[in-house]
Amino acid sequence: MRTRAGIGLMAAVLAGVLAPADPLGAAENKKLLIITADAGDYILCAGGTIAGMIEQGASAHLVRVTNDDKDSWNLSPEETAQRTRQQSERAAKILGIAKVTSLGYRAGELGGVSPTELRDRLMFYIRLDRPDVLIIPNPYAHYVEVLDRFYTGQAGEEARRAAALENFQPPFAIAGLSTHITPELYYYAQPVDPRRREPESTPTFAPQPKQIDIGAQFDKKVRAAQALETIHFSLAMRIKERIESTGRRLPLLDTVDRAAVNKLVEINVGKLAQIAAEGTSLRRAEEFLYAGVEYQIPAKYRK
């Protein structure tokens, strides 16, 4: 059985090798499966790239793992979850994402969820959607304070592997969800890890840094981020609270209204795009670790 699965894996990977080169511009007809822990993270890290791929003809499905019930200002968890769900769907629509699935885990509590359960739920969608591209939080990014992103990234990475092997979750196959190998994998994270662009200690099977121009999608990304009104109002209020508690003042947040929050979001998205573009000739970018077909086949076989 293991051998059969292995042959299947190799065959599919080789099929990928024989496929034409695959710059972002050739995203036509590709299926994207985007996994995010919370409503905002994937937009800030990958929203422009996703929008760009969709503009090129890709279709996308977003799986949001938590219900974002914690992050608000003066709202109950229930109200927060409901509002953020609606806003998350609106944001996804702005980017062109056709379908949004919310798994509904309580935010900040993935540390208490069985990793296998989460992996298998993500694997379900990989087998159902049969994506060409999987976009997940990078579980190896250091100093990302929201550990839900770590748990989600780790589960997403494992789900990709498990989805390709028939001995994982036999009931899935019985229900018609056959194995699937996702050829391309993007890891995303906000740029808090100082070593995020350093080469790994070994280049074998190590994803490579990839910076993608989002100049044409920047406005769309800003609007998608601004759609997350509850989270960003909360962010603005927390910044204001901290600033004022230390005897300072941030003029932009003298009055925290929609215009001020939207401006704050635009500044945030703009600076992140600038940081991601560092080291390139690009003005605005997003940065990933990318594991494409080359990642999956050692150089000696590719020759």
């Binding site: 003066n74 900040g108 808090v192």
Partner: protein, 305 residues
């Protein structure tokens, strides 16, 4: 070629002195660690704690485990002795006291992280620290399960304590949400690539002295007279002597060795960073979690800080 240059540049940078860390503004520091001695180990944080206290901070130590395994007296005795010595070490450093959570020592891998995190969130809301000190949750190769667990719980508790929808029951007791603005993380710098300090904290002679004494206060686990005897035998076998320990008992000599070691490591970290004495940390500043807004806030905010 490009890659080679990058790697060379990175290596050169890693050898460069670290920026000199500042003591953040504030009044309260919580030191949250797994074990009775983790606030005084050679790789931190006794010197920094002493410096924070000297800067006017009220300092509290949260010990997550019961330390029953550490020492040679059997479980309940170790627990009691280690707690007492931990209290003595905090006194030497000028701290206010120790809160023990009493999770079973070296068995913390399997405890529910959300339960531990809830305890830390409660304590953070109670003390409202401006600074928290702990193990680096991203450090590599730390074999100690308790270090890992507490570091991870702390990493989330430090910001989740600021959200009213996290453990809303706390608010009913009068506590309020509080996000920890600044963190110092420590880990062994010789344990692989995971922990890369970004600041060197300068220490003065007296802070190093207190660090040395706080460390050697843990007699149950350090400063073993047998170690001093072994060193004496080794020296004798090689025809060497250390004048300073000639008139000391083995117990006194063992304490002296431990304290010299702490001075040596503080001096070494200082020398590496252009200072006389230092400790090195990964420092997280108040807006580091917002890489897209940090520089804007710093440039646009008006007033002191």
């Amino acid at each position: 070629m490009k890659l080679h240059l990058l790697v060379t540049a990175a290596a050169a940078l890693s050898a460069a002195p670290l920026p000199r860390g500042k003591i953040p503004p504030g009044k309260v520091v919580l030191v949250i660690q797994a074990h009775h001695d983790d606030h005084t180990t050679d790789y931190g944080m006794g010197g920094l704690i002493a410096r924070l206290v000297d800067s006017g901070f009220e300092a509290w130590f949260v010990r997550a485990s019961n330390d029953e395994k550490d020492g040679s007296h059997g479980y309940p005795h170790n627990d009691m002795i280690n707690r007492r010595e931990s209290e003595e070490a905090t006194r030497i450093l000028g701290m206010k006291g120790v809160h023990s959570l009493n999770w079973r020592n070296d068995y913390m891998d399997s405890i529910p992280i959300l339960e531990l995190r809830a305890q830390l969130i409660l304590l953070i809301r109670r003390y409202r620290p401006d600074v928290v000190l702990g193990h680096d949750p991203w450090g590599h190769y730390d074999r100690n399960p308790d270090h890992r667990k507490v570091a991870w719980a702390l990493a989330e508790a430090s910001w989740m304590a600021g959200l009213a929808n996290v453990h809303p029951e706390h608010l009913e007791s009068g506590l309020k949400p509080h996000r920890v603005p600044c963190l110092f993380f420590k880990a062994r710098v010789d344990y692989g690539r995971g922990h890369e300090p970004n600041v060197a904290i300068e220490l003065n002679q007296d802070q190093v002295r207190r660090k040395m004494r706080a460390y050697s206060a843990h007699r149950n686990v350090y400063a073993s007279p047998a170690m001093a005897r072994a060193v004496r035998q080794q020296l004798a076998a090689e025809g060497l002597r250390i004048d300073e320990i000639e008139d000391m008992t083995d117990e006194q000599a063992a304490v002296a060795f431990e304290e010299w070691y702490m001075e040596w490591i503080s001096r070494k970290r200082g020398r590496e960073n252009g200072l006389t004495f230092a400790e090195v940390y990964w420092f997280v500043d108040e807006f580091d979690h917002l890489p897209g807004l940090k520089s804007y806030i710093e440039s646009a905010a008006r007033g002191p800080q």
